[in-house]
């Protein structure tokens, strides 16, 4: 089998990806170990979280990741406008995530719950906010890539930029796939 040596996209983004994953991994582990000493506290407040809204968010991110895969597929056979459509769909899904998450945050704040409320919420806000920032960054990257794709900057032969943006976006999705069950579900 002709195995590629390097993952898709610019190698530099993969170093970023590894670094970001490292930070999140440490955060996840910290959450889990802290929870072990405060099981009651974590269990009680976890129930206050809205899992329905989180489901919407999870589905939005998974779908947007899928759209990005379709976009890369499209450009790899030269279908420029199809690629752009898939990317726009992915961005739209990403924006849904951001809007929904913002609504969730607004709801918390209106109930007087914030980063300093207790240890569980400290982790909840830290983890989700940190992730949220990465979703924003991902949407920005995808937008840049979409614009360039729209202006004819990519082709079947050369579309490293799209693959680079795609890889970053998948990382954002990947992190959420662990974050969601860890914080919202596992008890």
């Amino acid at each position: 089998m002709n195995e590629k040596r390097y993952p898709p996209g610019d190698l530099a983004i993969w170093i970023f990806i590894l670094a970001e994953l490292l930070v999140f991994a440490i955060f996840f582990a910290s959450y889990a170990f802290t929870r072990a000493s405060h099981v009651e506290l974590f269990n009680i407040h976890q129930l206050q979280l809205d899992t329905d809204i989180a489901l919407v968010n999870t589905l939005a991110l998974i779908t947007s990741s899928y759209f990005v895969v379709r976009a890369v597929k499209a450009i790899s056979v030269g279908k420029r406008s199809e690629c752009v459509k898939w990317l726009l769909g992915a961005i739209f899904m990403g924006l849904i995530f951001l809007v929904v998450k913002s609504v969730e945050y607004a709801h918390h704040y209106s109930n007087g719950i914030n980063l300093r409320t207790n240890l569980f919420y400290m982790f909840y806000f830290s983890l989700t906010f940190f992730h949220y920032m990465h979703v924003i960054m991902g949407v920005v990257i995808l937008s840049v890539v979409t614009y360039k794709g729209y202006s004819g900057g990519y082709s079947a032969a050369e579309h490293t930029g799209i693959e680079t943006g795609a890889s970053y976006w998948h990382m954002v999705d990947l992190v959420w796939l662990i974050l969601f069950p860890l914080v919202y579900v596992m008890r």
Binding site: F16, V23, I26, R116, M122, S126
Partner: protein
């Protein structure tokens, strides 16, 4: 040396070394005062000597950074410096202002200095490392602005390279964050919070950009490795610096009265701050291994490799040792901090300036590439003397710090500060001896500038790796 205006770096480097000597002399004074409490009292009390020691360090490093910029930016941008005259003028302004400030510290009681310099109009004095009178601080801002203008215009005029852009961003950051030294809130928590916006965001932030870009420059010149490869490494390194270092500021916010989440954020992000330094080490050794030539200036290569290693050890490893909140709870403000601080500053910033001087001075003095073998050997001796001395200083202070933390904080029956200081005094004596060897190394370093002889060539160059 390709452009005449690069020569303005020379006075900056000479002043830097001169102030470095002053810094070490005062370091020896305070080191001795640790164990002979009334040494030079009351003429030069500890707190005054300490201010002189720390302020000289920062000022000479600033001279070094400016010299490095004046040397490398014209070469990178392939155009003459915008205004060599302005550079020389600012040199004298900075030097005189600095000298007057140091004299002020030494000759006038601090409160009197504050009064004399009109501190009450805009109070900025009285904080560690930022003891300078407000007028000095304003002077620093003016010098910095003129410097940035000069470098900025040069970069705008000429070829834009990753090295020069990263350096420029780092220098702009240095100037911007220095402005926080003017913000002096009454609230003690806020005071401390923002103080670190100068100190941390300097040495664990924008100064790393400066160090990285200078290291990249020296490696490009001495190894002949493709610029693109080196520049890509530089991007990744500074990205890691900013990703870890910005929120990593939180490791200074554990106990000053800020919310508890800082103990988590600070611990997690700052734990990763060694990564860029680790990368710099791999980067430096990798580039030298892949080199396409044996550059005649092997001393410069030695400094370049050495700075990466010592920075990783001092800033990265020693920093990591006391960065996690549960550890820092016990070690905060002990000799562990001093140990880390000394090796970190030496490894990252002293050595990168010395590396740059090592590379550029011979060229500015008319050599084609490097000094004579004899001179380089002497310089390499000074490298080992200073570096090994610093390692011992750090080890002794670490020992003092561990014992201090244990006796003063961790045991069931903690002992008072001064009682513990008595018990760690042996470490202080040993540190002082190591400090003397460091000074010897510095003297050898200076002497190497006066050793002449036939220029080393590529074939005759003694490889240091």
């Amino acid at each position: 040396m390709k452009f005449e205006s690069q020569k303005v770096a020379m006075p900056y480097f000479i002043a830097a070394i001169g102030l470095f000597v002053g810094q070490i002399l005062f370091g020896l004074i305070i080191g001795l005062q640790y164990v002979v409490g009334d040494f030079l009292f009351p003429e030069i009390p500890f707190n005054v000597a300490r201010m002189v020691h720390t302020n000289l360090l920062i000022v000479w490093l600033l001279f070094g950074f400016m010299g490095a910029a004046y040397y490398l930016v014209p070469e990178e941008t392939e155009t003459e410096l915008h205004s060599p005259k302005l550079a020389i003028l600012m040199f004298w302004v900075f030097l005189v202002a600095g000298a007057l400030t140091i004299l002020g510290y030494l000759l006038v009681p601090y409160a009197g200095l504050a009064q004399m310099t009109g501190n009450e109009l805009l109070p900025t004095m009285g904080r560690e490392f930022l003891e300078q009178p407000t007028i000095t601080k304003i002077g620093i801002v003016i010098v910095a602005l003129a410097f940035l203008f000069n470098i900025g215009m040069t970069v705008l005029k000429g070829r834009k390279t990753v090295v020069s852009l990263v350096l420029f961003i780092g220098l702009v950051g240095l100037a911007v964050f220095f402005l926080f030294s003017f913000y002096n809130p009454d609230n003690l928590v806020k005071d401390k919070f923002y103080w670190w916006w100068v100190v941390h965001l300097w040495v664990e932030g924008v100064w790393e950009l400066i160090m990285g870009s200078i290291l990249a420059f020296v490696l490009i010149k001495t190894t002949g490795v493709d610029r693109e490869i080196i520049e890509k490494w530089l991007y990744i390194i500074i990205a890691m610096t900013l990703i870890t270092g910005i929120v990593g500021t939180g490791h200074h916010y554990y106990w000053i009265g800020t919310p508890e989440y800082w103990q988590w954020w600070g611990s997690i992000f700052s734990a990763l701050e060694p990564i860029p330094f680790f990368m710099m080490t791999v980067f430096a050794f990798n580039m030298v291994n892949k080199r396409r030539r044996n550059h005649p200036n092997q001393a410069a290569v030695l400094w370049a490799l050495g700075t990466a290693v010592m920075a990783f050890l001092g800033a990265g490893v020693w920093g990591f040792m006391h960065t996690l909140a549960p550890v820092n709870y016990y070690t905060h403000g002990t000799q562990i901090t001093a140990a880390h601080g000394h090796m970190a500053f030496y490894g990252a910033y002293v050595m990168i300036v010395l590396a740059m001087i090592s590379y550029s001075m011979p060229l500015m003095r008319g050599r084609k590439a490097a000094n004579s073998n004899k001179s380089q050997v002497m310089e390499m001796w000074s490298f080992w003397l200073m570096t090994i001395s610093m390692v011992f200083i750090t080890l002794f202070l670490t020992g003092a710090g561990i014992l201090q933390t244990w006796l003063q904080r961790f045991t069931e029956t903690p002992q008072p500060f001064m009682v513990v200081q008595d018990q760690v005094s042996l470490f202080y004596w040993m540190r002082e001896i190591a400090g003397v060897f460091f000074l010897i190394g510095l003297v050898v370093y200076i002497a190497s500038f006066f050793v002449g002889g036939e220029e080393a060539t590529e074939s005759k160059a003694r490889s240091s790796v």
